[in-house]
């Protein structure tokens, strides 16, 4: 293909794409004007019906709990895929070499940051039905606390904190626990994942009914899935460094 032809092809397709995009954007509702009734209905009924003050978490784990089950397993399979691909080509697990951060300042910041991150993560998980946050958000914060141990400390400390069998167990029980809570609703004669628990008092930690259990299960699953991805990449890096001596 000549340069002129390629440029012409690009120009023609770029104009076409831009026209399609403009057409699509022109058909969107105006900025800030949400057209569906669903959000307004939930905002109006959820606080009384489910005793929650954060309708987002109630939507995610209660009204749309089944969608979240799917998302849970997307993350589960993605992390499993990474693990399967990388564990397969890796040699025996070897003791990682010392790669500790030598800067006292960085280590100090890490030491100060890790407990704060753990506390924040647990807080965000526990207050999911009260303030913004929930299982996913808190789970990723918890996983990042482990990552800080590696980034500001050393990889071996990170690995000692996250033995693979434990991470696999937490990840599996998080994903499985979500399904078990859904099945428990079936056993009690409700629809799958229907909220069956005592709803508690709005604004307290014990609000949200059985969706609170789904929240906890997803926190375990998300935290473990992210730690697993970090671990698999880290093991791969260690392995390549040991083999290549780089």
């Amino acid at each position: 293909m000549s340069r002129g032809f390629r440029l012409g092809l690009f120009a023609a397709s770029a104009v076409g794409l831009a026209a399609l995009l403009l057409w699509g954007v022109a058909g969107l509702p105006d900025f800030g004007h949400y057209a569906g009734p669903y959000g307004y209905v939930l905002n109006a009924v959820a606080p009384n019906e489910r005793h929650v003050t954060n309708v987002v978490t109630a939507t995610v784990f209660d009204y749309r709990g089944f969608d979240t089950l799917g998302e849970e397993f997307i993350l589960f399979s993605a992390a499993m895929g990474v693990a399967l691909l990388l564990r397969d080509v890796r040699d025996e697990e070897r003791e990682p070499p010392e790669d500790g951060i030598r800067s006292d300042a960085v280590r100090l910041v890490g030491v100060a940051l890790v407990p704060v991150l753990v506390a924040l993560g647990l807080y965000v998980v526990a207050h999911g039905f009260i303030t913004p946050g929930g299982g996913f958000q808190g789970g990723v914060v918890l996983a990042s606390a482990f990552l800080v141990v590696w980034l500001a400390g050393e990889y071996r400390a990170f690995r000692r904190l996250t033995p693979t069998p434990a991470v696999d167990l937490v990840k599996g029980s998080g994903a499985g626990g979500y399904v078990v809570v859904g099945l428990a609703a079936l056993l009690l004669g409700n629809a799958f994942l229907h909220n069956f628990g005592p709803l508690g008092t709005a604004g307290t930690l014990a609000s949200g009914g059985s969706a609170l259990l789904l929240n906890l299960a997803s926190a375990l699953e998300v935290a473990a899935a992210f730690v697993l991805i970090f671990t698999e990449f880290g093991e791969e890096l260690v392995n390549v460094r040991l083999r290549g001596g780089g």
Binding site: P132, F136, V141, F226, L237, V240, G246
Partner: protein
Amino acid sequence: MIPLQAMVIALVAGAALAVVLTRDLVRLALISSVYGLLLVVLFVVLQAPDVALSALVVSGVGLPFVIAVAIAIDRAR
């Protein structure tokens, strides 16, 4: 759209352009993290704190981490 929202949207667009135009991979890891953080600011400005919290770690920490480690693995080979 209030001016603050317009400003943050412009910043996000600028950062997205920077991500596309960055050729050096290590810089890319950092720039994509900055882009992710700007996206978090946008979510906060649009009053979506739940989304902002997850994006904070996923696009501010997770994605740059995966990019950085992938580069490190490639260099070690």
